[in-house]
């Protein structure tokens, strides 16, 4: 059973957040930018920190301003999904904005009335400390994008499991698949821990994994404008090459 | 060419050549024709025997040993009849047997009847 009525079918046309972010209706646009920011704020923050080596406060201000400008339709109106991926477009926009601010000698004005997003920069800063020196800002951006997508997919999965009364499925998934411990608990251990039969553990985990896949892909669909972009981004997300 | 026919032809040719070399020995040059005929017949007998063996036994090593043996035995009989020249007759005779033994095993075709 699928947690959403759409199942795995991909609609031929869709109203993705990308299209919504280009809307003239401020309420629609604001919701869309919130969704884009949820997926991209950490990639953007870490990218500018790594690439331009600016202070944490400047990077935080820059990130807030970046998404405020998105909301003001400064960037997204010029986005054409036929010409490239949103991911690459946003990274390029971040570069352009930074260069523009440098040129204007008006760089990184703090608290420029754009702090409408509640972003945990301290957490992002802690995560940044773990990034290896060998990683390029571009690689870090892509990696954070993937991490954000998975995190948002997990949120969807949790919400879906909650509404369907399947929280135990999510708890098992969290305990087994999201667990860094080595060695992992065995299915038998999980069965006794959760008071389930071992076959139920197998089935519940299979369900959760299946739904997680779907949630991540749904999330990705929302963040892309066309089928073609979705397919290309999905290939990147899955780490598979095509010929 | 089947193994028996190959043995026969090779035995005859090598036997004839073997006989012809007697021309270089002035003492026996007068009997050259008899020597050539005798040597050819000896070669044919050896060749047929080796060919029959090759048809029955499919082994290069055994074929060579058998050929050598037949060549030596027949050459020994000829040397006995000549009352001498054991070395001069038996060494080439054995060599011819060895070559025919090798050739029948290596180049002789297995007949269709045998394969089925």
């Amino acid at each position: 059973m699928s947690l959403t009525p759409q199942g795995g079918n991909f609609p031929l046309t869709r109203h993705s957040v990308v299209l919504a972010a280009q809307s003239n209706d401020p309420a629609v646009r604001s919701r869309a930018i919130d969704a884009i920011a949820a997926a991209y704020w950490k990639p953007v923050y870490k990218y500018v920190r790594m690439k331009w080596n600016i202070s944490t406060d400047d990077a935080a201000d820059f990130t807030q301003e970046f998404f405020t400008r998105l909301l003001e339709k400064e960037f997204l109106d010029s986005y054409d999904s036929a010409k490239g991926r949103l991911r690459t477009f946003l990274r390029t926009c971040a570069d352009h904005l930074f260069m523009k601010q440098m040129r204007d000698a008006n760089r990184l004005k703090r608290g420029a009335g754009c702090a409408h997003l509640a972003l945990d920069f301290e957490e992002a800063e802690r995560e940044l400390a773990a990034v290896t020196a060998a990683e390029s800002p571009e690689d870090s951006f892509d990696k954070e994008w993937m991490r954000s997508l998975f995190a948002l997919g997990l949120e969807r999965l949790r919400a879906g499991c909650e509404s369907e009364g399947k929280l135990i499925h999510f708890a098992l998934f969290e305990r087994y698949d999201l667990n860094d411990a080595d060695p992992k608990p065995s299915y038998a251990q999980l069965a006794s821990e959760f008071g389930l039969a071992a076959t139920d553990v197998t089935n519940y985990l299979a369900f959760a994994r299946r739904e997680f896949r779907r949630c991540v892909l749904d999330q990705l669909r929302d963040m892309t404008a066309t089928d073609e972009e979705f397919r290309r981004e999905a290939q990147a997300l899955l780490g598979v090459e095509t010929r | 060419m089947n193994k028996i026919l190959l043995g026969l032809v090779l035995g005859a040719i090598l036997g004839a050549i073997d006989g012809m070399t007697a021309w270089f020995t002035p003492a026996v040059r007068a009997q050259l024709a008899g020597i050539i005929v005798g040597s050819t017949i000896k070669g044919i007998i050896a060749g047929v025997l080796i060919g029959v063996f090759a048809r029955k036994v499919h082994s290069l090593a055994l074929g060579i040993v058998f050929g050598l043996g037949v060549g030596l035995i027949l050459a020994f009989i000829v040397a006995q009849m000549q009352h001498g020249y054991y070395f001069e007759i038996m060494l080439p005779g054995g060599m011819v047997g060895l070559i025919v033994g090798y050739a029948t095993q290596r180049y002789g075709r297995v007949s269709q009847l045998q394969q089925t």
Binding site: G8, R147, F150, D180, R210, V240, T242 | -
Partner: protein, 317 residues
């Protein structure tokens, strides 16, 4: 929610590709390899209790026609019952919407792995066994179109299998490639092993495109690498074999061998010390070849003649 660590992200990414076998008779054992259109997984057939290989499309196929192409590949394989072509057991769609087919699991080595520890004769003998299934397919109007060393497996018992018929073009009714399947005029294949007409995207390539690839594979067997240009004579490649490669890889298909078997036969001629059709040898080369082929007989006769000569010389002293 707490931050996902790098290892968890990597695991989730890997998990995303694991085929959802719910409702099938198969259970995933492990990932095997990437194929042209998706990934190949080792699975257990839970009913027959045997290991099988599942070829599964990627979760999000890069092209909309891939499910149809995968099914066509399965049908082509199913129509080719030959010991040198991996048999298909089953095909369908998984719970996650991915098309798949199930085939025999071949445990073995790729051609490159296999030839690394083999001498030239052993390597050349493989060509005949690669050519057999190709001739079989060609006789049924099927062209492989992506022959390369990676698509040839040598099984645990030495059986040679031609794999990955994902780009195969079928002429037989019921298997015929659709406009979207092996799209007419599109460039499919692998550089280095692809015929010029295929590289140009000619609409009507025939079985001789596979002959070109087979020639390139022969070169690979000789040198361990695909030819970069026309196969040239080198110190390590005998002239007759270089000529065989050149004939097989002629730019004009009509100048190539007209069947895979004819190409393999010429290689077999070389191995047996017989003259090769593709190469006109000099008198000296012919003598050397005959000597090499009949070395023992020549030596025995020479020893005999030498012995006779010595007898004559001693008789005259």
């Amino acid at each position: 929610m707490k931050r996902l660590s790098d290892s968890v992200v990597a695991r989730l990414q890997a998990d995303m590709q694991v085929p959802d076998l719910t409702g099938t008779r198969y259970a995933v054992v492990r990932y095997l390899a990437r194929g042209g259109m998706g990934s190949v997984w080792l699975a257990e057939d839970t009913i027959l209790k045997r290991r099988v290989a599942l070829k599964v499309l990627d979760l999000v196929a890069p092209a909309a026609d891939l499910p149809a192409r995968l099914l066509q590949e399965a049908r082509i394989l199913a129509s080719l019952e030959h010991p040198g072509i991996v048999p298909v057991h089953d095909a369908g769609t998984l719970a996650d919407g991915r098309a798949f087919y199930c085939m025999k699991y071949v445990e073995g080595q790729t051609l490159a792995q296999y030839i690394a520890e083999r001498n030239l004769t052993d390597r050349l003998r493989l060509l005949e066994r690669i050519a057999e299934p190709l001739d079989f397919a060609h006789a049924r109007g099927i062209i492989h179109r992506d022959l390369k060393p990676e698509n040839i497996m040598i099984g645990a018992f030495g059986e040679v299998l031609v794999m990955d018929w994902g780009l195969a073009k079928a002429g037989a009714p019921g298997l015929r490639s659709g406009e979207n399947g092996s799209a007419r005029g599109s460039i499919l294949g692998t550089a280095g092993y692809m015929s010029p007409e295929q590289a140009r995207g000619d609409a009507e390539v025939d079985h001789r495109t596979d002959i070109f690839s087979l020639g390139a594979i022969l070169w690979f067997l000789l040198k361990g690498a695909p030819p970069t240009d026309q196969p040239a004579v080198t110190a390590t490649v005998p002239r007759p074999l270089a000529a065989v490669c050149r004939k097989a890889m002629a730019a004009d298909p009509s100048m190539r061998y007209q069947s895979a078997g004819a190409l393999a036969a010429d290689v077999a001629h070389y191995l047996n010390g017989a003259p090769v059709r593709a190469y006109r040898e000099s008198l000296l080369e012919r003598a050397a070849r005959i000597y090499a082929r009949h070395r023992t007989a020549v030596v025995l006769v020479a020893v005999y003649l030498l012995m006779r000569l010595l007898f004559i010389l001693f008789a005259h002293r």
